[in-house]
Symmetry: C2
Subunit: 227 residues, 2 copies
């Protein structure tokens, strides 16, 4: 490796507020970023277009989109015919937009790519505050994945790499995430949050993801450029 | 659930000797089997045809094949232009046929499907004796994945399911695996092992996978129906 070559990071990028902010954070910390997105037959592909824009805007070294069809597995409003709920989730309940084992699948591909790239750092925008009750966004889950990764790969088992799963936003509120991204120059008009856009491609404003986004901008005292 | 309904199991099925034998074991233990295979742009698809035959022969309740392209990630002789080595692997070295994080990716999809099916049992034919030096075939890896899975899903976090990763062959020699399969009536002519078949679709006989298979049949004192 050349001296002073920037450290490499694989970053899971959905094109939403959290993963886009995580990318801005990784960039500000000097990482060379390999952005990884997934076309998993989610209900719409506006978020993949957002991911492409964010990856380009923040200077990803490479942006890879892996395609597979989670509709065959189903079990979520995001990958089946189950309707996306509107108007706010019940408290203390994991919502129907939860996609079974999604972050585990995403991080597994991230680990594979990280091993090939010899990138020790895997960034994920997971967030436990203001989150939607997803189990695979909690710190204890992230730590368990990291422990598993240490035993899973040739590079880790042979002692050359110690993969770190880095979730820089894990304990931040949505408002703090947005403030952080803005302080780093992130253009949130490039990002996308809505689970279930209107005909014509506008955010619905009423799904959980729209509601969390709106709450974040409101609490940060900033107008959402998409609103 | 109906009384006496058989317990459900997701089973990772490549169509090789190990996963096919694991399926015969799961069947003999009374599980209703949901077989899961992957079309990951491995070098040939003969093994997927073998998986279909084995799944049908052993009465899978369903056989799902998930498709994605690991060539985009690369890093293995099985998913890139790197040549499959012939004539026996160097001892104590993880060979170039290792596919980065493959079992982690496969088990992650298995976990997703298991959650949707409400199947607590996930079978994998991983094997540490006579194995090819793959880190993600070792018991400590399997245990770490299981600990991660306990924190990863809605069903496990809410306490309704305790996913078990079951590797019934983990400490068996290839010869013992073959004896076990034969005692359960498995037809090994349906299975496929070769990494790099000859033109015309015959096993090469010289890749690691062919060599381990041949050694297993030889030590079991049985003629390989594919030989």
């Amino acid at each position: 490796m050349k001296e002073n070559a920037p450290p490499k990071a694989v970053l899971l990028l959905s094109g939403g507020v959290d993963s886009s902010t995580a990318m801005a954070v990784a960039k500000s910390e000097g990482f060379e970023i390999y952005a990884l997105s997934f076309d998993y037959s989610q209900r719409h592909c506006i978020e993949l277009e957002a991911a492409k824009k964010v990856a380009a805007s923040l200077g990803a070294k490479k942006h890879l989109i892996i395609k597979f069809d989670l509709r065959e597995i189903g079990g979520s409003a995001l990958t089946s015919e189950i309707k996306v709920p509107k108007g706010g989730a019940a408290l203390h309940e994991i919502p129907i937009t939860y996609v079974p084992a999604r972050n585990t699948i995403f991080l597994s591909f991230g680990l594979a790519w990280a091993e090939v790239l010899r990138a020790e750092n895997i960034f994920i925008g997971a967030n436990v505050t203001d989150y939607s009750g997803y189990p695979d966004c909690r710190p204890e889950y992230i730590e368990a994945f990291e422990r598993m990764a240490a035993l899973a790969t040739k590079e880790s088992v042979e002692g050359r790499m110690r993969f770190k799963i880095i979730a820089p936003l894990i304990n931040m509120s949505k408002a703090d995430i947005i403030r952080k991204g803005l302080s780093l120059g992130l253009d949130y008009s490039l990002t996308w949050s809505c689970y279930d856009p209107m005909p014509g491609g506008r955010p619905c404003g009423r799904c959980d993801s729209c509601l969390f986004r709106a709450k974040g901008f409101r609490e940060a005292g900033i107008k959402d450029p998409l609103a």
